[in-house]
Amino acid sequence: MDNTIEKIVQVLQEKAGATFEEFRGEVHVFVNADKIVDSLTFLRDEHAFSLLSVLTAVDYWPQENPRFHVIYQLTSLTQNLSLQLRVPVNANQLKMPTATGVFEVANWREREVYDMFGIEFEGHPDPRRILMAEDWIGHPLRKDFPLGYEEPQFSFNFEEIDLRKPYVKE
């Protein structure tokens, strides 16, 4: 972990009370939800992290709080650095402040996280589903959402699947 990242992480620790861990040369900084927007603006303005390359979430299902981690992966083009911020979100309080004010890419990425995980982002200009149909029930990428696996039709089970298969009339 080279020194510029180390300085940034120290500043984040005092300002946002963040903890951090490291794996394979990558730094993951844990920030809680209310501090995330100003740490993003701080990183973008002071430290030239001008590209938010990844905004996604991970579902640790059986573990209730924090059930989700929302991940912001920032890249700085000038210094060629990258830093990952992780925000733990509890299962009972799926609310997050929106980052569209800081990065425009957050607009679509947050809609995708809402569509796939059900985490609402307050203040989002267009809080609709992006990938699934408007009337889709449930959030597919949650661990408790079934994969929707249908038994494939081979020769030995051809007849009984043929009866169940919804062929179109005309």
């Binding site: 990844v54 991970v58 991940i71 060629n80 890419v105 607009n107 267009d126 609709r128 699934m132 597919p140």
Partner: protein, 411 residues
Amino acid sequence: MPDYQLEEVAVGPYKHLVSERAVSGETMLLNMGPQHPSTHGVLRLLLELDGETIVNCIPDIGYLHTGVEKNMEAKTYLKAEVMCDRLDYMNPLGNNLAYSMAVEKLVDLDVPPRAQALRVILVELQRIASHLVWLGAFGLDLAAMSLFLYCFREREVILDIFELVSGQRMMTTYIRPGGLWRDVPVEFESAVRHFLKIYPARIDEYEALMSKNPVLQDRIVGIGKMSAQDALSYGVTGPMLRASGVDWDLRKARPYMGYEQYEFNVPTRKEGDTYARYIVRIEEMRESLKIIEQAMNKLPMGPVNSDNRKFVPPPRSEIGTSMESLIHHFKLWTEGFPAPKASIYSAVESPRGELGVYLEGDGGPKPYRVHWRTPSFNNLSVISLITKGHLVADLIGILASVDIVLGDIDR
């Protein structure tokens, strides 16, 4: 016109996006929908038109959502790689490389130098093939019908090389974690040399046909301007970002697979309009040729797969003789290899931009979470910004220059 019908109809999910002139019926809401010749796949653009000029353009994606990220969580690391060919179907080998590098970074697996050089050659060939399909579709959208046929003629030569190497034209799954599926056949060298010999003349042919053509110049010069600041804020990467003046190419900034040995320059332009994006991609094809040339000259001999038997299945010849290889073979092909309980992010430069894989393992043989950071998703989100005030005919040119692939966007 009965105003109430427009009022109630426009009130639908787009009410907060369209201007109030649409509700009063002055501007027209038109679907440039999933089935359209120039949306390069199933993308729906809801256009709010005032006569011919676009007041507002609302993209609606998801018509090709295949749930790949969910499906990969149900397969082992090796079987999940079959899914990633179908993501960005113009760049299957690039997807394989992105996924294989992510797995190699997660389990700390080494790749022998010969495999690295072959990976670079194949990925650059795939970049040229992807740019060829883009150039064909770009010409087709701007009514240059013959260019489409020329581009696909060259693409067939590249696809023959892929078929020679892996047996499949497009969905090869040839680049595996730890190296390649098997070594390239003997004829690979002459096939690539043949392509390198005929191709530069073909690019000049396209340039002669398209670049200096005044009809094309009028249609795409100064259309769809995008400033570098907007591009970075919208997360745009790849040729679109380089056409707006930002010199950011992952092959130069963070060299992987031995890219630092080859010198090539990264074409950038300042204007950021459709013509600049067109020129940047044409130059990129020439740079890729240089890389392939140097890589072919310095192709090292040696093994193609890493000899770390924990993750890479042993060659079949060894299975007959040594007991450990049989055990490794059996374990890897039935249950797969366990990965540490941690998460990594590794990115590759695909023909459309930064293609990143966020891979999280949970100690078991199946990936816990695979998120594909695909470039077309962000590149498309700029479309509503850069098409404001243009004519519908310009939108066709802009959308063709953004070079989106719907499998990449909807995953």
